[in-house]
């Protein structure tokens, strides 16, 4: 294959892929501010038609959604704090080659990557702990990903030189102080990476909440969204309603769905380009190990 042909085909594929990623997202955005009738008539393709903010208005006056948003903020905040703390402390300890038993501990962690007790016995354990219907059931069971732990350990190994620690020890610094004062400040990119990974993971998860919570006022946003986006449609049929009020309700519910997707996803997609370098670094570290 000649070079120009090869380059042309490559760029063509790439542009197609980029378009396939962007267009659905773009369409959701313009659909969230367009008159649903215009969408149904097939008039909305490139620009919004019959602009309306009814969807967003309905969104912010819907108690379940507002509560879900607040719950998600709480779960994400607390979960990230706990998760990152455990990953950093354990990751640091496991990075220390001079800690007796390091290999054994590492094996104990890695084994759980390949074999776990399963959804049912995990549920029964959470139940026995009395955590059902509490914030802990959403925050704790998934707090430590072994993959993240390995990335953290590798990062400490590569970025905190042993000589530095020996020097600090000569100055009378113990492990606690060395970890807090020297190792942590040297690994800021790791902390950002872990925090971002956990924020995204907690913000986006719904399954644990679905299993462990049955009090609707505790539902996180994703679970509320699932009920509105998916359950209300899963039983939907092809025929359209004939009664006016039904049509109006239908119209609002469509708008609500589009705007809900925008509001729940925009915050993460908006900050992510600025944090991308950390994720790329994490992916590289993951590939390394």
């Amino acid at each position: 294959m000649a070079d120009p042909t090869f380059t042309g085909v490559s760029i063509g594929i790439l542009l197609l892929a980029i378009g396939a990623v962007i267009y659905p997202l773009y369409f959701i955005i313009i659909a969230s501010i367009s008159d649903p009738n215009q969408i149904q008539l097939g008039h909305v393709w490139v620009l919004p038609k019959g602009i309306t903010l009814d969807g967003y208005r309905a969104l912010f006056s819907n108690d379940a959604i507002v509560h879900g948003f607040a719950n998600s903020l709480l779960y994400t905040g607390l979960g990230t704090l706990i998760s990152v703390s455990i990953i950093l402390t354990s990751g640091y300890a496991l990075s220390r080659r001079d800690m007796p038993g390091r290999r054994l501990f590492m094996i104990l962690f890695v084994v759980t990557m390949f074999f776990d007790g399963g959804m049912i016995s995990r549920y029964l354990v959470v139940k026995q702990l009395g955590m059902l219907n509490t914030i802990w059931a959403v925050v704790l069971p998934g707090a430590v990903g072994v993959w993240n732990l390995i990335i953290a350990r590798t990062f400490f190994e590569h970025n905190v030189p042993g000589e530095l620690r020996e020097a600090a020890q000569l100055d009378g610094s113990d492990d606690f102080r060395f970890f807090l004062r020297i190792a942590l400040p040297m690994t800021k990119p790791l902390i950002v990476l872990m925090a971002m990974t956990q924020i995204v993971a907690y913000w986006n998860s719904y399954f644990d909440a679905m299993i462990y919570l049955n009090n609707e006022s505790m539902y996180p946003l994703q679970l509320v969204m699932r009920n509105i986006l998916i359950q209300s449609q899963a039983t939907g049929s092809m025929d359209s309603g004939s009664i006016d009020s039904y049509a109006a309700a239908q119209r609002l519910s469509e708008l609500l769905k589009y705007s809900m997707i925008v509001v729940s996803t925009a915050p993460i997609l908006a900050v992510f380009p600025f944090l991308q370098k950390y994720f790329v670094k994490g992916a590289a570290l993951g590939a390394l190990k």
């Binding site: 892929a17 990623v21 007796p100 038993g101 007790g117 399963g118 016995s121 769905k257 809900m260």
Partner: protein, 318 residues
């Protein structure tokens, strides 16, 4: 830990190794304290459930607990293997994941090889950012988007179909469309993430190989084929083994969201069945047995492929 004799510190690790084990353990107590929260988590949320998985061999009741409930041996497994659901669940699980692997696995490799060719830094960055972005979107939203875009009446896709003079398709209600939609949306969402991993591996390839190939008259395609692809083969192998290891678990949270009453003939997989039988119908032991069956198959598959990769003298997980 403070080292009592500064003169010995200079001797480095050799000196440390000579110190007795109990002394070293005592010296490291602060490290164990740092490790403790992680270990407690591991015991409570990983090993306790693993210990509890024995209810698969028992007839679990909450009063007698994991160990006290009566032992029934392989009864639960036998019941599953002989149930009329068994072959359908196994087939659905294997089909959706095998097809997923075949169609989804090569995509990020191709994308990474293409993006790696780009010379314009800004466009390269832009392409990476865009392709990577969907992996930050939640499964609930992705599946919600599928319901909206492939909806029967106002869905974007059905509008195109109607405009081109065909009858609309009820995508979410047809068993035949479940797999294409599941795999297609999986590629849409996750190809970018794996692409980043491959790109990282591509940067590690020695540029002098390219120079030498150019001198020998190799064109771009030949250089991609003979230098870059073999260069990232170890990473490809590892990601492939990991993907194989997930064949029975991948994305069942998403499968569950995509299930409708009508597409169940293809969309019911082992893990969604475990959830329904176990947590919705409270048949704990039976569902735990199905889950365990699933995990063991999974592990066997992973070990087999890891072994194959090692025999083939490629990289392996261990």
């Amino acid at each position: 830990m403070r080292i009592s004799n500064p003169a010995r510190a200079g001797a480095g690790s050799l000196a440390v190794r000579r110190v007795s084990l109990s002394r070293r353990v005592r010296q490291s107590w602060q490290l164990y304290v740092l490790l403790a929260p992680g270990l407690v988590y591991l015991v409570i949320f990983k090993y306790w459930p693993m210990y509890g998985a024995q209810i698969a061999f028992r007839n679990y009741n909450p009063v007698d607990g994991f160990v006290g409930s009566p032992w029934v041996g392989l009864k639960n497994f036998h019941r599953f293997v002989t149930s009329y659901q068994f072959s359908r669940l196994l087939e659905n699980t294997l089909t959706v994941n095998t097809l997923g692997l075949i169609f989804a696995f090569p995509v990020p490799i191709v994308l990474a090889l293409i993006v790696n060719q780009l010379t314009g830094e800004r466009f390269k960055k832009f392409a990476q950012t865009v392709l990577y972005a969907p992996s930050f979107i939640s499964v609930v939203v992705v599946v919600g988007m599928i319901y909206l875009l492939f909806g029967p009446r106002s869905g974007l896709v059905n509008q195109v179909i109607t405009l081109s003079g065909h009858t609309p398709i009820f995508f979410m209600g047809s068993p035949g469309w479940f797999r294409p939609l599941f795999i297609g949306s999986d590629i849409w969402q996750n190809a970018g993430f794996s692409m980043i991993v491959y790109l990282a591996a591509l940067t590690a390839i020695d540029p002098s190989l390219h120079e030498a190939a150019k001198v020998d008259g190799a064109n771009k395609f030949q250089r991609v084929w003979h230098i870059e692809l073999p260069g990232i083969l170890p990473v490809i192998t590892i990601l492939f083994i990991l993907a194989i290891g997930n064949v029975f678990n991948l994305g069942f949270e998403k499968v569950y969201l995509m299930q409708t009453d009508l597409n169940l003939p293809t969309s019911e997989v082992i893990n969604t069945y475990v959830y329904k039988i176990g947590l919705q119908n409270a048949q704990f032991s039976y569902s735990a047995a199905i889950g365990l069956f699933n995990s063991v198959l999974n592990l066997v598959l992973l070990l087999t492929f890891n072994q194959v990769a090692r025999k083939a003298n490629q990289s392996s997980l261990w």
